[in-house]
């Protein structure tokens, strides 16, 4: 299996970015090749999207998966999945049913060589607070996560704040349990300072500073390198990337920055998200010096 030995922040691609093209004009292999073109070595997939016949892929599919990782020098970094406990109308899944669903994903993540999971929990309100029993669900799956060597990471995404209650609850949980198998994925949308006229900004949103990351870094196993607008001279105009990367390097953080492009314009006819990703990777390559 391919290994990438570089230490510190590393470049990767979240295949979510290809949402508008995947299955229509791009195959899974195209996403791998595009990543290879950019010289990035890590990927995040969405289990429910990119795994054929999820959650029960065939052995042949899994074999081809490892073939693609080797061919395009890619490390399977983050396995995106959902604890879909609001999957039926009328009732929430029980804690046991949710654990069963989560454990199935842990096994599959491990089978595909992933070590981090972007564990999306069902939310109960507009502040994106997770279901009340999230601690029980995670605790129930921790022993298996440990055996399978994966870290379950909820994503901290705008309008959530790094200094907010939700993050505090997650960090308290990590401290109380002492677990190394639950952590955080920081989405860089929390650092966004640039908003143009007419762009949506949640009334609950307050931008974090790059320094707000420092106390959380020991629990961060992965980041979504969210970007909104890349200028033609390859700078992100809304998120302070140089300062964020500097904090991560100065504090010795080791992990992948997975490019995630969420802009709705990627659904426009003729839009090629690969070109947008490449713009960001020129910036990241310069900042990281790789």
């Amino acid at each position: 299996m391919y290994h990438y030995d570089r230490k510190g922040p590393k470049r990767g691609v979240a295949f979510y970015s290809y949402s508008a093209e995947f299955g229509l004009t791009k195959t899974l292999e195209d996403c791998f090749e595009d990543t290879y073109d950019m010289g990035a070595h890590g990927i995040e997939i969405l289990a429910n999207t990119h795994i054929e016949n999820y959650p029960y892929p065939s052995d042949a599919w899994v074999e081809n998966w490892f073939h693609l990782c080797d061919k395009y020098e890619v490390v399977p970094v983050e396995y995106g999945h959902w604890i879909d406990s609001h999957v039926i109308r009328g009732r929430e899944l029980t804690t046991e049913e949710s654990i069963e669903m989560l454990e199935r994903d842990i096994r599959l993540a491990n089978r595909l060589g992933f070590t981090v999971m972007r564990t999306k929990m069902p939310v109960i309100n507009g502040k994106l607070e997770p279901v009340k029993n999230w601690r029980e669900i995670i605790k129930g799956a921790l022993p298996l996560a440990e055996r399978m060597n994966v870290r379950m990471c909820p994503e901290i995404h705008t309008p959530s704040n790094l200094n907010g209650e939700m993050v505090r609850d997650y960090v308290d949980f990590i401290k109380e349990t002492g677990t190394k198998n639950f952590g955080l994925n920081i989405d860089f949308s929390v650092f966004r300072t640039g908003f143009e006229e007419g762009q949506y900004r949640s009334p609950d949103y307050q931008a974090n500073t790059p320094e707000d990351l420092i106390p959380l870094l020991p629990y961060v196993y992965c980041c979504h390198a969210k970007f909104i607008h890349m200028s033609d001279d390859f700078e992100e105009t809304t998120i302070p990337y140089p300062a964020i990367v500097k904090v991560m390097q100065d504090y010795g953080w080791d992990g992948y920055l997975l490019s995630e492009y969420e802009g709705a314009d990627k659904y426009d006819d003729g839009y090629e998200v690969g070109q947008t990703l490449r713009k960001q990777h020129i910036m990241l390559k310069r900042l990281l010096g790789d």
Binding site: Y16, S19, A20, F22, G23, L24, L46, N48, T49, I51, E52, N53, Y54, P55, W82, I83, D84, S85, H86, V87, I88, R89, L93, K120, M121, P122, V123, I124, N125, G126, L128, A264, Y267
Partner: protein, 146 residues
């Protein structure tokens, strides 16, 4: 797969024991991730303006038929966004040769969206705010039966 939700391939009359018993067409999931069948909210189909209720449409995935009732509680069967679902409609004699206007609405719930937004979902009406990654609920297409 075609970019449009209602696919041109797969639209035909269905024959059983030599008799035309109805018609079928294929749709793709206009969402960036797959869904469990219980997340689906099928709506109404209009063929040349004629209304066909959601209860009268059978969905077909991975070699198996599912009624609306069966789908409601099935949170184990997963519909991947790279496969099409086949929608089967009973109509003795099927559709006439020539053009037909199909209009079909469906949508799906998402665990990570605030419940208040989920409660207002209507398969036959677009959401208040259109988000391209959830697709449009109601899709139309004019297709030929041979």
């Amino acid at each position: 797969m075609e970019k449009q939700v209602i696919q041109s391939v797969g639209f035909r009359n269905t024959v059983e024991n030599g008799a035309v018993i109805g018609f079928q067409f294929k749709i793709r999931l206009p969402y960036y991730r797959g869904v469990y069948l219980s997340q689906l909210m099928p709506g109404t189909l209009y063929v040349d303006g004629e209304r066909i209720e959601k209860e009268d449409i059978v969905w077909y995935f991975k070699g198996q038929d599912y009624t609306l009732e069966e789908m409601r509680t099935d949170w184990k069967t997963h519909w991947n966004p790279t496969e099409c679902a086949v929608l089967k409609v009973k109509k003795p004699g099927g559709l006439q040769q020539g053009y037909h206007d199909l209009k079909y609405g469906f949508c799906f719930t998402s665990s990570y969206m605030p419940p208040i937004m989920q409660d207002k979902l209507d398969p036959d009406q677009e959401s208040f705010v259109f988000m391209p990654e959830f697709g449009k609920h109601v899709n139309e297409r004019r297709l030929l039966i041979v």
